[in-house]
């Protein structure tokens, strides 16, 4: 909402600076987003141009010495140019000749001295203005020059040059009463506050609304415009009828009438205000409807009465409000033919639709230069229907903006009356002394209450009932105090106050706003602390992420939205396989982000691919949900996952070492082992994996106590080929985080540090190539029993010495007892048991 300061001051005295006013409004929930100066001096420049500016103030300040009101007494032809004229002008200090090309002066050219001088905005040499001939706002200083042989050192200004609007077709012609010689800034300098209207404050989308807030916040009286119609006008009886089909859609409809209006422009002062408020002046009649809408917040619509009579076949027109019929169409003011929905409400007459109720008028009955008699509509429309119509028709308007948020029905008649008065003032005509007023669904007379206890309980401040009543009274709530309770009647311009317990909260907010949020002391909850809850999944997730970072992996966080094609890359080894269903977005921003991900690994691999050429070595992980649709349920299973991926060299080059060894299966497996270790997950087993994304011979499924935790391995060559990776291998893993949480031990036992020294022994065992390391180790552990405390594979050897199809696995073993030092005999016994066991279990022979 654009609020011209001079207009605001019509309703309330303001003795605050622009900065103070902005702060007061902002701190009451009417955020001043910026201030546009149209003439007034910039308070920050006056205060020494500080760097900190709590409100953004910009625009043009008019130098009182250089920009003044002047009068043109005669418009004369230019001796050398048809498209220029010379003005005999008085700027209050004396007579001058000023050259201009303004087309709106040509009608006065050569007609001699003007009977009624034209008042204009006059700029002297050295004035700072916007350049009217350049696009946008380019500041320039008026310099002395010669145009076609005539001296030019000053000029008469257009709106663009003064920073009022983009208008540069002609110069501004001020109202006749503008005092010649007065500094322009004094006469019409202004500032426009851009106030952000919150959705629940639509009552303040008007000058009076803002003024009411300023009055309440600064304890000044509010001057509301007078709305009593002259009693001596003709009566509207028999001139028009109203038929409301559904009061739920149209709670009130008011008509007023003006006879014999002249179609002419509004006074310049009115045009200026409309422009500063962001609307385009049209003519005095239409301007009055817009002016009053901005003034009190009631949108209005003017019909050409004679057109309505004609449509009614010369009979008394009947205005009918109803929902649109199926397939009904209407051509609106903007020339668009609109196909209407059944929820759209129309203003019609007996001949058909006239306008989209509360949004935009129809073309046929609009005000034309021939219009003399005006039927003026002020109505109240259902905000839901208005809102649906705006969305459906993709049509926004100032009226629709207000009606879609709710306008109080009391404003219908106030708006019509005020508008008739303004119209008669600016376009002439006779106002009918009464209104046609159908009000089938009167607004609820909302009565709410709030007690001193409510204020204490919700706001934490102690206020007496009288103080509460005084604060609310400043916003026109009618208050009655009984004991500790304030009984409140809501004023007839707002619809945001509820009753009962909701009303208490609504009123508490108003009390807090006017009292000042800043004055409410900060406290800390005295309330009892809720019981603490165990949050094992959250703790484990944190531990997983921190452990992986410690192990040198970089965390990534990807968009959860992806495309089926991206995810399908992972199943490239089975390209024909049908893709499972995903949570699909109905209104995606792009096909690339059209479903919720099903695979976290796919996301991490995308990121790995994107970064692969930036680093020799990359190791990434992500923790987060995947979204798995559940048959028959509206919501998916949001299953937490952990994905890891790494590629490149094992060790990045240093200046003295250049190791080209690549990361392989065992690097990632080592990370997984360390992770499981940190989670104290025991009894881990590794079985061959059957997963389409992985190399069948270089991948494994990881389980703990028989429960599958996840899969890890090298990407299947066909899958890898779908990505842009240079390195020979990409290692990847995906784990079920919930399974990790379940398997992780929150309690575990610590073994005492041994007191007696171990017996250390190396054993090299020759086995068939097909024997798995895990089985050899299991047999060693079985044979060794409790006294075997450590088994570490330290070498694998293949060669002629041990025969083809064989391998030698070398283990470093520790034998140790908790209560004594093992004798050589005992150690030998353990060794013999191990050798027997490995021979039985895996056919191993001791390599001698």
């Amino acid at each position: 909402m654009k609020v011209p300061l001079s207009w605001l001051k019509e309703y309330v005295d303001i003795d605050l600076s622009l900065i103070e006013l902005s702060d007061v409004l902002t701190m009451a929930g009417l955020e001043v987003e910026d201030v546009l100066l149209v003439g007034l001096p910039n308070p920050y420049e006056q205060a020494g141009a500080p760097q900190r500016r709590e409100v953004s103030i910009h625009g043009l300040s008019w130098d009182p010495e250089k920009l003044v009101v002047a009068q043109i007494d005669e418009v004369m032809p230019h001796p050398n140019a048809d498209r220029l004229v010379l003005c005999r002008l008085n700027d209050g200090t004396g007579e001058l000749v000023v050259l201009t090309g303004a087309p709106n002066l040509f009608e006065y050219k050569g007609i001699g001295p003007l009977a009624k001088p034209l008042k204009v905005a006059y700029a002297r040499e050295g004035a700072r203005l916007y350049d009217g001939h350049q696009p946008g706002l380019v500041l320039t200083t008026l310099k002395r020059t010669k145009i076609r042989g005539v001296d030019s050192f000053s000029m008469v200004c257009s709106e663009k040059e003064l920073g009022i609007s983009e208008e540069h077709e002609g110069i501004i012609i001020l109202d006749d009463n503008a005092p010649t010689g007065m500094p322009l800034v004094e006469y019409m300098g202004d500032a426009v506050l851009e106030v952000n209207i919150l959705p629940n404050m639509i009552r303040n989308a008007s000058l009076v609304g803002i003024a009411r807030e300023v009055a309440a916040l600064t304890r000044k009286p509010l001057r509301k415009p007078q709305t009593s119609l002259p009693a001596n006008g003709p009566s509207i009886a028999g001139k028009a009828r109203i038929q409301i089909t559904d009061p739920q859609l149209n709670a009130r409809f008011v008509l007023g009438m003006l006879e014999g209006a002249e179609q002419r422009p509004s006074p310049y002062r009115v045009q200026l205000r409309l422009r500063l408020a962001g609307m385009r002046p049209i003519n005095a009649v239409v301007d009055a409807t817009n002016y009053v809408m901005l003034e009190i917040g009631q949108p209005l619509h003017a019909f050409d009465y004679d057109v309505l009579v004609k449509r009614a076949g010369g009979q008394t027109p009947t205005i009918i409000t109803r929902a649109a019929h199926p397939g009904e169409k209407l051509t609106t003011l903007d020339g668009a033919v609109r196909k209407l929905d059944d929820f759209t409400v129309l203003v019609c007459d007996t001949a058909g639709a006239l306008s989209l109720a509360g949004v935009m008028g129809g073309l046929e009955s609009e005000i034309t230069p021939a219009t003399r008699n005006i039927l003026l509509e002020g109505a109240t429309w259902n905000f839901v229907n208005t809102r649906r119509t705006i969305f459906s028709q993709k049509l926004s308007s100032e009226a629709g903006y207000r009606f879609s948020r709710g306008v109080h029905p009391a404003l219908s008649s106030e708006g019509v009356k005020l508008c008739l008065l303004r119209m008669a003032e600016w376009s002439g005509g006779v106002i009918y002394s009464d209104l046609v007023d159908e009000y089938p669904l009167p607004a609820a007379d909302v009565k709410a209450e709030i007690s001193t206890g409510d204020v204490k309980r919700l706001l934490g401040i102690e206020l007496a009932a009288d103080e509460i009543a005084a604060l609310l009274g400043r916003l026109e709530f009618a208050c009655r105090v009984e004991g500790d309770t304030v009984f409140v009647q809501t004023p007839p311009h707002r619809m945001d106050i509820g009753t009962g317990v909701i009303g208490r909260a609504d009123l508490a907010e108003e009390v807090a706003r006017i009292y000042g949020y800043d004055r409410i002391p900060s406290t800390y909850m005295a309330e009892e602390l809720p019981e603490a809850r165990i949050r094992r999944p959250i703790q484990v997730e944190k531990l997983v992420r921190e452990t992986l970072a410690r192990l040198g992996l970089q965390e990534v966080i990807n968009y959860r939205l992806t495309s089926p094609e991206r995810e399908a890359r992972l199943t490239a080894a089975q390209p024909e396989a049908a893709q499972p269903a995903s949570i699909t977005i109905k209104n995606p921003l792009s096909p690339e982000r059209s479903v919720m991900r099903r695979s976290l690994l796919a996301a991490v691999l995308d990121t790995l691919e994107k970064n692969a050429r930036l680093r020799d070595r990359l190791a990434l992980f992500e923790v987060g949900p995947v979204f798995l649709p559940v048959e028959g349920q509206p919501l998916p299973d949001e299953a937490p996952r952990l994905a890891m991926a790494m590629t490149g060299v094992r060790r990045t080059d240093a200046w003295d070492s250049h190791d080209a060894a690549q990361l392989d299966f065992y690097d990632l497996k080592g990370v997984v082992e360390a992770l499981l270790d940190s989670l104290h997950i025991g009894n881990v087993s590794y079985a061959p994996a059957e997963h389409p994304a992985f190399h069948p011979g270089k991948s494994t499924q990881v389980s703990a106590n028989g429960v599958v935790l996840g899969v890890l391995g090298e990407l299947h060559p066909q899958v890898k080929a779908r990505y842009d990776f240079l390195a020979p291998a990409v290692l990847a893993a995906e784990f079920d985080l919930a399974a990790l949480v379940e398997a992780s031990a929150s309690r575990y036992e610590i073994q005492p540090v041994p007191v007696f020294p171990p017996v250390l022994e190396d054993l090299a065992l020759i086995v068939d190539e097909s024997v798995l390391a895990v089985d050899v180790e299991a047999a060693i552990r079985q044979g060794g029993g409790k006294l075997l405390t450590e088994v570490r594979l330290f070498d694998i050897f293949r060669g002629e010495q041990i025969g083809a199809g064989k391998k030698s696995l070398a283990y470093a073993l520790s034998y140790q007892a908790a209560d004594h030092t093992l004798s050589p005999g005992e150690a030998n016994q353990i060794r013999q048991r191990i050798l027997r066991r490995v021979e039985q279990a895996v056919g191993a022979q001791l390599r001698s």
Binding site: R52, L458, I585, N611, L618
Partner: protein, 347 residues
């Protein structure tokens, strides 16, 4: 007898000669040679011991004693010299072992948490210290929980505040804020008092640009109890801001509007980048917006199972990425989910 006296003098000379020779010993090898020559088996002083038998009985104790003194003197001198030589040779060794300490070290790979996760956990940690516990709720939500139970009926003007991703399942959407977690938490915990934080990803149907993302984290704060006030909300947010941004930071609450809170407020904080003097980050206003908050709307309390005549509470929402943007002066929010390693490695 005279010869025996000469032996004593001889021993004095042996000592003097030994000490003189020792003075010029500079290294370990010479030291060894000196030891062999002056304290070895055939060194003069050692020979003096072996020849003691040939010395007259009267002189024998004197000569023995003298030889012993000489031996001890030489040994002591040797030890002292050895120390000097060792120190000198160590010094010499150290002098030749000069590294170029400006050459780069061999770094183990340092993994890092994602910057958004770091910001999130910093915020969570602060609120945990203040007695709030983490609570999670789903990212794919029903329209009912995301909007209607939060006092935002269909076609309510407030719906304009959230551009929504709809799924192909009618009534199922991607949550537009973490606030639906309020309903889940209340319904689970009612009638107990509540003090939880609800962090997580939310989604907006919004073209992405430098300051807008379609997906971002929020942290929702929720407290429900019998005596919780707007002052408590203010104190809690201030407590957070001081821990997050510094002890002296000043916070202001301005009235605002959210359908699920009443009264509602925006929280602005003095700009920590410029110390509130005015800079690009705070757009020269001296203030930064850090949170939206308010007292729980009676309808929301009711929908959560709490009687609004008895219970009150507050909710607040913060954006971790926005805080990280401000804190590290990142100029484009899209950096967070682009996951360019060159960005991530800087945190």
């Amino acid at each position: 007898m005279g010869e025996d006296v000469n032996i004593l003098e001889e021993l004095d000379r042996v000592q003097q000669k030994g000490l003189d020779a020792l003075a010029s010993v500079q290294n370990e090898a010479d030291l060894q040679a000196w030891r062999t020559a002056h304290l070895g088996r055939s060194a003069p002083v050692m020979l003096a011991f072996t020849r003691l038998g040939q010395i007259s009985k009267e002189m024998r104790p004197a000569v023995g004693q003298k030889a012993n003194q000489v031996k001890v003197a030489l040994e002591t001198a040797l030890e002292a010299r050895a120390e000097v030589v060792k120190n000198a040779s160590l010094r010499q060794k150290l002098d030749t072992e000069q590294l170029d300490v400006t050459l780069p070290g061999r770094r183990p790979t340092l993994g890092r948490l994602h910057p958004a996760a770091q910001a999130l956990s910093e915020i969570i940690h602060i609120f945990e210290e203040m007695g709030f516990q983490e609570y999670r709720s789903p990212e794919v939500e029903t329209d009912e929980v995301n909007f209607e139970l939060l006092n935002i009926p269909a076609h309510h003007p407030a719906r304009d505040m959230w551009d929504t991703f709809h799924t192909t399942v009618p009534g199922t959407i991607l949550r537009t804020h973490t606030s639906p977690g309020q309903i889940h938490a209340m319904r689970e915990l009612c009638p107990k008092p509540i003090r939880v934080i609800l962090p997580g990803m939310v989604y907006r149907y919004e073209q992405t640009n430098a300051s807008h993302e379609m997906q971002f984290n929020q942290v929702e704060l929720l407290a429900v109890g019998k005596n919780i006030t707007l002052g408590d909300l203010k104190g809690t947010i201030e407590g957070f801001a001081r821990r997050m941004f510094g002890e002296t930071v000043r916070v202001r609450m301005r009235p605002s509007y959210f359908p699920f809170t009443e009264p509602s407020a925006d929280v602005v904080m003095e700009c920590f980048v410029c110390d509130s003097k005015g800079c690009q980050v705070c757009k020269y206003s001296g203030w930064l917006e850090i949170a939206g908050c308010g007292m729980l709307h009676p309808v929301v309390l009711q929908n959560g199972g709490y009687d609004p005549a008895v219970y009150s509470g507050f909710a607040a929402g913060l954006g971790p990425e926005r805080i990280a943007l401000l804190k590290y002066q990142v100029d484009d929010i899209r950096n967070f989910w682009q996951n360019d390693i060159r960005f991530l490695e800087q945190f």
